[in-house]
Amino acid sequence: MKRDACTRLLAEKLSDEVVVTNLGQATLDMQQIADRPLNFYTFGSMGQCSAIAMGIAISRPDARVISLDGDGSMLMNLGQLCTVANTAPANLAIVVWDNEVHQTTGGQPTATSMRTSLAGVARGAGIEKVLEPQNEEEAAAAFDRILSEEGPFFVLVKVDAGPAGGFMQRDQLGYKLRFMQALAALPSDQ
């Protein structure tokens, strides 16, 4: 599967969900395909994307929160899957674009190109709803589930290696303020 095509599949279904994106490809993809105030882009702190998403999820249980993470970054912070499983925020979904390489640094292979399954790690951590779509149709169905059912979800999407197109916008503070204002303005049903 292509990462940008899968990102488009997900983006078409979004309305008022929070999306947190991992440094590098996921951030660039969302900037290019579906820039929106409820996106929080990360540009560093490798491994923290899904932890940030979880912090938002427990603080705003009325909002649905999606982390778009990568295999290299998830491998750096596997422990967070245990925290997600045991805290179990129902409004959190972690999507990992698994291209089996460190794309941003030149395509060096990660552990998932060999014997390691992040879906297996997520199950072992205690996450019950682990999805592994094998094609775009299954990916679309998985995205429908994470946008409607209670989680937490872990969705492992195997994607082709290859850099995202375009140039990254790096106005971190501007994006942060835009995000905080958009989330604060999102009506709470509590």
Binding site: S45, Q48, A51, G55, I58, S59, A63
Partner: protein, 172 residues
Amino acid sequence: MAQEGWSRTVADALRRNGIRTFATVPDFIVSQVLEHLWADPECKVITVTREEEGLGLLSGAYLAGQRGCLLMQNSGLGNCVNTLASLNNANQIPVVMVISHRGDLGEYNPAQVPMGQAAERVLEALDVRVSQPHTVEAFESEADGLIKLAYTRSMPVAFLLPNDLTGGRYSS
């Protein structure tokens, strides 16, 4: 000897400054603060697997309008360095850290000493404003101001708690 009531004083200062979300990798010393927070139904305390994961989580909480505090040992500060720099500092996301200062006066475990001796300089290098209160009175005189500064300046701050405040931990 610990200062009488130090752990409740710390817990109360955090709570009266509006902090309700806590992340921790516990140790013997900060657990004495955690006891008060665990017992408070208004406080959300999440035990994470590594301290920098707590910074990620509390940064998310801040983006969603909640103040957060990370409680850990100073060895955990070592695990936090890049996230403090590239997430909190680069994005101006404040957080309050409560750090037990192992590896300083009276330490019995050689493995604790190098990080304990480096802790102050690591915080200084990361531009984190620090309070090191040796008494309950010294803590009280700085606590509200330091926490307020964190949110005014949008940067992390740290309470680095010396053994003469907390009683430390001694080998049995």
